[in-house]
């Protein structure tokens, strides 16, 4: 029995960063907007307060803030010859749930992509020739960095990001990242204090001629009032950041940076605990009529709407389209179809530097985004000609915490338990610097998303299935850049140095990142993209799909800043173009 509700102008699926931004902007124009969130309501007070928020077991190990996988899991296989099986626990990556989405438990690392990323195929072919790309399915994004710059700027000012510009309108700035794309103004707040691991890394990297800079952080260095009039606080480096919610109003999240303004607008209605089953289409299949959802008590509703915004985690954006019959499933054999195509991830690795016992690193004095970075081996910032791969990785000292269930680094060769293990844990806990290698992930024919033929969610609908392994290109990249990280670790003067480049096969049993991207790629060609440059669905123009699922590849850097920039870019097009004349914004 489905209850049909009164029609509204806009329905927004998922109230995380993207959903909050879109809903806030559209509700401000006078439109009636309903936001549907599968998880619960939660706020800084009382939900995120200490001391119970500082519980490593509950939040970091048992993943209390993450998607309820007993109801909704994903299935995985390395390649098409295998049978995909459900991830029965979250280990390799951590999709969030609840009001604010992943924006509650993120680290706050706030990097922009570079100019080349948005024209990647054109750029690589121009610099290295047409054959260099090989079998990677990279493509231009249909939008340029210059077009996105004002939207990056707006998102960073919403967050209050702490950093130092390295390139202001084309002029290189001392102390910042000399490789970054030009930004129109300084960061909203100055860099965070540099902790010890960052200082050790900075000196070592500089001694090798590299260009260290403070990692841009949305765990703020000082109090800040954003353009929405919301006040954020200084981070106190408590070391409970990623996988946790911030009790200090210091991490920029939907709760601290935008939701209070959205929820004050009577044009907006939030419905939580509601699981959207599908976007409904009319008989032409070219127009959405709204959505059908099941509420927490199990009742089914149809919410008619003129415009549907799909602003979910990448996997779920793809799944929503497939459950709704929107677009054509990508086929890895024929290369036809676009939904699920160009799934990408992130190619991460690390190096460890072990110091003497009189060097107190104090890893617990940390935030999720304090750190010192170099971009010398990121993106296309070095000549790839001799190497035969594309892409790169930033190298950084980012000690996010000293929580000991998960953080107790030991040198290679240490026993995994017993007396030898215990001695090594005690010896190295406070005397180790972890160097992160955070690299790009290039799409290929074989990596993609579709619906699982066997496993279902709690509502009886197919789970999303992902088929992924690291392309050879990315493993070569990891080998090269991890060796550079080891060079830096050696230059710190550490007693013992270890480095572990990423090796295949990709495993879901080891946490790497939650930067799952692609599947509803943006572009200028409907044959290779699901949405146009304004993130409007080619097949159903009153559906916009916005999020990391739009990425045509995943670049070197953490995706959130680019996701936020795309949200503001899309909502500008919605307001300036679509609302005035609903219909396709790009003609085919």
């Amino acid at each position: 029995m489905t209850q049909r509700l009164k029609e509204v102008d806009v329905v927004v699926l998922g109230v995380g960063f993207v959903g909050s931004i879109i809903a806030k902007e559209l509700a401000a124009t006078g439109l009636k907007v309903v936001g549907i969130e599968r998880g619960g309501v939660r706020d800084t007070v009382p939900d995120f307060q200490g001391p119970y928020m500082h519980d490593e077991l509950r939040f970091a190990v048992r993943k209390a803030l993450m998607q309820d996988n007993t109801k909704e899991a994903v299935t995985f296989r390395n390649n098409r010859d295998q049978i995909a099986l459900p991830l029965r626990r979250w280990e390799g990556f951590l999709p969030g749930t609840g009001l604010g989405g992943c924006g509650v438990h993120w680290n706050g690392q706030t990097y922009r992509f570079q100019e080349q990323d948005f024209i990647l195929r054109t750029h690589i072919e121009q610099r290295y020739g047409k054959n260099f790309v090989g079998d990677l399915t990279i493509q231009d994004w249909g939008v340029t960095y210059a077009e996105l710059e004002p939207h990056y700027d707006r998102f960073e000012y919403l967050l209050g990001t702490s950093g130092k510009a390295g390139n202001l309108n084309g002029k290189i700035q001392p102390g910042g990242d000399p490789f970054e794309a030009p930004r129109s103004r300084e960061y909203p707040t100055p860099p965070m204090k540099e902790y010890f691991a960052g200082a050790i890394f900075r000196k070592a990297a500089a001694s090798l001629g590299y260009h260290p800079f403070p990692q841009p952080a949305s765990t703020l260095s000082q109090p800040y009032t954003n353009p929405e009039g919301l006040k954020l606080n200084s981070c106190v480096f408590c070391g409970f950041c990623e996988r946790f919610a911030c009790e200090h109003y210091a991490k920029a999240t939907p709760q601290t940076a935008i939701l209070p303004v959205l929820l004050r607008n009577s044009n907006f209605e939030l419905r939580t605990g509601c699981q959207v089953q599908r976007i409904n289409l009319d008989s032409s299949r070219k127009k959405a009529t709204g959505v059908t959802y099941v509420d927490a008590a199990g009742r089914t509703f149809e919410q008619p709407a003129s415009l549907v915004i799909c602003s979910l985690f990448a996997f779920n954006n793809v799944r929503m389209l497939l459950l709704s019959g929107i677009g054509t499933q990508y086929d890895p054999i024929t290369q036809k179809g676009t939904v699920g195509r160009n799934y990408a991830y992130q190619t991460t690795s690390s190096a460890l530097a072990f110091f003497d016992e009189d060097v107190n690193i104090n890893p617990f004095m940390a935030s999720g985004s304090t750190g010192t970075t170099i971009n010398d081996f990121s993106g296309d910032n070095f000549d790839h000609g001799p190497h035969g791969f594309i892409g790169g990785a930033y190298i950084a000292a980012i000690n996010t915490n000293g929580r000991p269930i998960e953080y107790h680094p030991v040198p290679p060769g240490t026993p995994t338990w017993g007396k030898g293990w215990k001695e090594a844990v005690v010896r190295h806990y406070n005397h180790t610097v972890n160097i992160t290698v955070h690299g790009s992930s290039m799409p290929n024919r074989a990596n993609y998303l579709d619906l699982d033929p066997t496993y279902k969610d709690a509502w009886g609908q197919p789970l999303i299935r992902f088929t992924f392994d690291f392309p050879k290109n990315d493993l070569m990249m990891s080998e090269f850049v991890t060796a550079r990280a080891v060079d830096i670790a050696k230059a710190t003067g550490a007693k013992i140095v270890a480095g572990n480049p990423r090796k295949g096969p990709y495993t879901t049993t080891q946490y790497q990142t939650t930067h799952n991207t692609g599947g509803t790629v943006m572009g200028n060609d409907p044959a290779t993209s699901v949405v146009n440059r304004y993130l409007q669905c080619w097949d159903v123009p009153n559906v916009f799909i916005i999020g990391a699922s739009n990425f045509a590849h995943n670049a070197t850097w953490n995706p959130t800043d680019t996701v936020g920039a795309l949200a503001y870019w899309a909502v500008d097009a919605l307001k300036a173009k679509y609302l005035k004349s609903p219909g396709p914004l790009v003609q085919t």
Binding site: F237, K422, V426
Partner: protein, 238 residues
């Protein structure tokens, strides 16, 4: 630490006597007092767990062993509760073995996994006329290494899967907040210098190399609002 022979354990109570330490110990060794008031483990299981955990994290001059830190109590409470019952575990079939990349694929909840595996261990050793708690340290280590290497089937639980689960939960119990029943008196945190559930490091984070010596805080004893910074125009309340 409590030093006693395995034989004395059987006189503590009639229940523990069911563990039947009827094999003479090869040498006097450290044995914890029997775990009492358990919610999940039976006495035989508790005795195996206590002995195994102590080998995974033994007592030494650096700090507590797993028993002194209350790890078996942590395991008991976890397995008796929601986690043991399969909290946050997707449990729809079909069940297939899968590849190592696909992670845990057994139908067992953690409670079922422990129950089956511990029975399997007891049965396996009984065939050799042995019991795990009565083995020497070296024999226990060798048996645990064999479990870790895999190959044995413990009532349907692959030995290496059980070993990895036991090791992971032992480390959890050792280093998690004492509110969960392990890390007694925050001994493990004191041993490595982790300050626990809360500190404000704003003034210290750029004092590089400073030795931070404040005693750790547990969730149980950190004041609920001690670190809550609220300006007059904050919060931005929803």
């Amino acid at each position: 630490m409590f030093l006693k022979t395995a034989g004395t354990a059987s006189v503590v109570s009639g229940v523990v006597a069911a563990a039947a330490f009827d094999i003479a110990p090869v040498a006097e060794k450290a044995v914890a007092p029997p775990l009492s008031g358990t919610l999940f483990f039976n006495p035989q299981e508790a005795a195996i767990i206590q002995a195994a955990c102590e080998r995974l994290i033994p007592h030494d001059d650096l700090g507590p062993g797993a028993n002194e830190a209350g790890v078996p109590n942590y395991l008991d409470k976890q397995l008796a509760g929601a986690w043991g019952a399969g909290e946050r575990l997707y449990r729809s079939g079909p069940w297939q073995v899968g590849t190592p990349s696909q992670g845990y694929q057994l139908p067992f909840t953690p409670a079922e996994l422990f129950r089956n595996a511990l029975r399997g261990i007891a049965a396996d050793l009984k065939q050799q006329g042995k019991e795990f708690p009565a083995l020497s340290d070296d024999e226990q280590d060798a048996y645990l290494k064999a479990l870790q290497a895999g190959g044995k089937d413990l009532n349907g639980v692959p030995a290496n899967v059980f070993f990895q689960t036991l090791l992971a939960m032992t480390v959890e119990g050792y280093f998690s907040d004492p509110a969960y029943g392990g890390n007694k008196d925050m001994l493990a945190w004191k041993m490595i210098g982790f300050p626990g559930a809360y500190a404000n490091y704003f003034d210290l984070v750029d004092k590089h190399g400073v030795k931070f010596t404040r005693a750790p805080l547990s969730i149980a004893d950190a004041p609920a609002v001690a670190h809550f910074h609220q300006g007059p125009d904050i919060p931005a309340k929803l």
